[in-house]
Symmetry: D2
Subunit: 350 residues, 4 copies
């Protein structure tokens, strides 16, 4: 089969041919219908310091967000039929460490992550633990199925603190930031303030329901937020950019007793005024990784199937694996929405 692989500790991916890995007794083989590109895949492609420290041994098959169809099953697998369409929870877990016993499966340090520590989803087929599969609804668009994983990240970012009626600032409106706008809107955040330097992304944020749009390259973030909230400040900051200045300016705009959720990955360490911005404000900062298994996935299905929040509208490009270089150049320039690979070539009509 064809697969994108990181072969050496440097920039870029290679398209390779390799056999489909046979399933262990508790695993399934999935035919990859769609696999979408995450911001962290760009880190891998660029091979920055964070990627170098985070990834295990090479070569490594990359990619993790995906929709698949079950085509083979290990001998112990029950309850997943051949032909079923599924998403994959990309954080694997061991089930027996102290973290798993505390119910924090998504934080298990022993399990590894698909596409970072286990061969990934930018491939025609991928082999994963059966228990990591989350069934799609009948007739679900495979783009939607693939986007449940990152959308789950966005939902989890929203759900670690109350949002209803609270002035909320989202810094960064890339694809994940826009999914967070969708989720925060559904949760009742008001006013929903989005800070993003690219005008076309601000426009998308506006279409998705952002109430106030700021351009950090021209607006003074703290002042603009204080003004937009009649001097109260943002009660919530959702940091999606990974940019240290965005974080610091967002924290300066935070109301006393405010909540901060960090999902954007800062590539380097960040200098913070803990006194002023955290301690005397009585602020709370929560790091977000992955999603709750399966609580968040259930929330995601509710938002998508009941409340009609549709992350697939963010897909702007569909490529075969062969055009991976073009795909990542688009990502690098920050001009795309969500980009999907179609390893078997079928373009999806949204």
């Amino acid at each position: 089969m064809k697969a994108l692989s990181k072969n050496e500790r440097g920039k870029g991916f290679s398209l390779v041919n390799q056999p489909v890995r046979s399933p262990l007794p508790d695993e399934v083989v999935l035919k990859v219908l769609v696999s979408t590109i995450c911001g962290s895949d760009l880190h891998l492609w660029e091979w920055n310091d964070w990627a170098d420290g985070f990834v295990g041994s090479l070569p490594l098959g990359v990619g993790h967000e995906m929709a698949g169809e079950v085509v083979d099953r290990g001998g112990h697998v029950e309850g997943l039929s051949i032909g079923a369409q599924v998403s994959v929870e990309t954080h694997f877990w061991c089930g027996s460490c102290a973290t798993c016993q505390r119910g924090l499966f998504h934080l298990c340090a022993a399990g590894g992550i698909l596409g970072f520590h286990h061969d990934g989803a930018f491939a025609e087929y991928v082999t994963v633990p059966a228990r990591n599969c989350w069934g799609a609804k009948e007739g679900e668009n495979p783009l939607t199925t693939s986007l449940k994983e990152p959308f789950g990240n966005a939902v989890q970012t929203c759900d670690v603190q109350p949002l209803e009626g609270r002035p909320t600032l989202i810094t960064g409106a890339g694809p994940l930031g826009l999914m967070t706008v969708m989720a925060a809107k559904a949760r009742g955040a008001y006013p929903l303030i989005v800070s993003e330097p690219r005008s076309e992304r601000r426009e998308k944020a506006s279409m998705l329901g952002a109430d106030i749009l700021l351009d950090p390259s021209s607006d003074s973030l703290p002042e603009a937020v204080w003004e937009a909230t009649e001097g109260e400040g943002a009660e919530v900051l959702l940091e999606l950019s990974g940019n240290a200045d965005a974080l610091r300016n967002g924290m300066a705009a935070l109301a006393p007793g405010g909540d901060i959720a960090l999902l954007g990955l800062p590539v380097r360490s960040v200098e913070m005024s803990l006194n002023e911005d955290v301690i005397f404000k009585g602020a709370t900062i929560r790091g977000i990784t992955g999603r709750l298994v399966w609580e968040t996935w259930k929330e995601v299905d509710r938002l998508i199937h009941h409340q009609r929040v549709d992350p697939s509208i963010l897909v702007t490009h569909q490529f075969p694996l062969e055009e991976h270089e073009e795909a990542f150049h688009l990502m690098e320039r920050g001009v795309s929405g969500k980009i999907a690979f179609l390893p078997h070539g079928e373009i999806i009509d949204e």
Copy 2:
């Protein structure tokens, strides 16, 4: 009356004579029975960057932790009798801003803090809002009455996350750190690990119930904690030192999904590895300032009067106001426990 005053933006305090301020209709005048020195008073005395930015106009009467006796009352005061012994909630609040409406009185930005923005308690008398007084129990030791304020800080640091049965690391065992040891022990933290460079403070922590003692000048904090917790890490970090290395090493020792409470004041900004230590760990950081009004005060009374946790055993020195230089030199050298001023000269037999 005599009072310690910050007269100029530089090191030290002056002992001055000044009139007792007459109460406004909602205020009371308190005869100061005891006023104890807080670490933040040492910042004021040393006049570092943080103090320079935090304090308002000078001259300023300093000191805030105190036990007082009501000697005069404004015309609108009800329910506080002449002669009553009280502690003072040192964070004043306006009652009408957005922060107060959300019930976060201790974070009100409009009210100011006794001894930082209002003339303080290192004085023979002090005039404060009647509603900031918290009544002492019949026959309560005035040292205890004075220490409820900082002990409330320690209790609040413990109470923002569950501690029962959780491996807990406290960094810094100065007087406030030792109060936190007392409170964390009462809350059931286990094992209770204390990291502190001074041996005499480690010994006190041990007497107060710490299970494992570490010396950050010789032990590798993360490794020692991972060993002490059988590889699980600390589920909770209570940072009491204000030292950036202590914070970073403590965060490196944190288990996935762990909780961090920050009470120690770092004088400068702190560089943090948000990726590794917050985001991928799914950690939560909470800044602590003051105490909940009056929920924490009620908890403090329960711990002191029901569960026999007695912070007054930490008092090592009692001084008249005249000997303030000796008191602050002891504080500066870090060799004392809690130091009490007795503005009216009566030594208290513990």
Copy 3:
């Protein structure tokens, strides 16, 4: 002034003439612009067992939901101007009992409730503690100002548990039930199922966003709910009817781990299958009384002024005090929406 009064322990109210009570130092006198009728006022009017046990000494001025204008102030009152338009938090509190110290002002047993233990708002003027007043926005419709109190009840009923995306059953769609439909919709409950025997109230619930409407006189509640939720049951039950059968049927329709909020007042004791409906289901039941001071009021203002949820559309009748018998007969027959008294006669154009 004119006022409605309960003069004897029996059915009905009397319209009396009595002097306006002069304010104590901490009180204000309000000119009553609007006072709306609550379901509990109907209990008072009918004088059932609950009313007989709950109310203190007679005669008693009745009514509590209101919009007022400050016309006189006691000598200690600050920060409330003559002419200001306000709502009134009808649960008074002492501020010093154990309940108040725990921050539960709305549950203070010492303070009493306006119109139940203190002369009330169905009058031309009413005298209340200044600190119980909550300022209206500039130009706010006095009907809205009056309805913030019951709407706060509805919001508090919604906010004691998460509602976003959760299948939610509301039993009872009288005026307070309809306000709860409005609040639950804003909170993202889905599907929002309303059970109510009167067809015109079901229609209103539908207009306000209820997704599924049930008639308990013909539908089997548990079965209909299980069907509507694809066998999952309601995760939340908001009981607004005070009807024991509605409660029991709602509990039978509850999903495992579900949440129940009780606001409707059952006049008599209720027989419950605790084993089946609470213990083995791991259910949680929360009694709701009043609103959080001031957290809920702030939420109410956010919903009304930011999210455009307008409880005043539920007002169906406006009467002068003289027509109180007609008003309560309408209430008794359950055919009205919210009914407003206009003690000074000005009809309000919505």
Copy 4:
């Protein structure tokens, strides 16, 4: 093998001989070292209305609390060695229903309970899902291993609300009540008030740390509690008796805003004054069934192995299976502590 079986819908159990059931691929066969008697087993033995409604088809092997040793494994089992000593989580779960997806495995309605819906632990051997086994510490007393299941119930009863420093009333001091006394003491409840009609059980509660003992047959519960708490009432009621009067009297003794946890099973429906005791008090009632998987088990290990809380001291009798009638007669008369069966005959020296 020998096993206790419910053969007919009536009083008593039969000792039968039957084959050991072979494990399915995901199951293990456990040699039963100890199995202890639960209050619910007495309901089964007596065959009251609740038992008749709750149990599935007969004959049924009974018993669920147990310590076992792995002696055989199905073909898919990993990570559980032959010879390992384990407790069993007695609530089975399907892993795929809506309740399981919400993480509420202990409430899964599809899984059934050991000894109620699956052949149980009062037997020489029992066959259970491998994933329901919880490993014992090296050298752990099998009595302790068996008691973790009910002790987990007690811990969960304590942990659904905060207990530290809160006046807490426990009604019922049978074996499970006494375990709750142990857990509540470890959690810092104060004062810990226990109401129990049998004097020898009150004495045990006192030995285990209860601060105040009440006899409901002579003391007026509400008045005694109000007196013991200086008029504040109990902030927490832990109901362990299943007795309707105990519950009602306990609720009457509850402080405003108090919390109630129900673990005791009332055999019949209970009449409650919801107005007075739940709604106007703003009380919360939580039904407790089972334990969180595995969060509570981890807490149990912490309490036992770190904080030295030892439920095995409650064992008063050890019997071979043949003496089951004597064992249940003791249970019926309420004069024993915890009773253990030793299906293989070895008496355990505590």
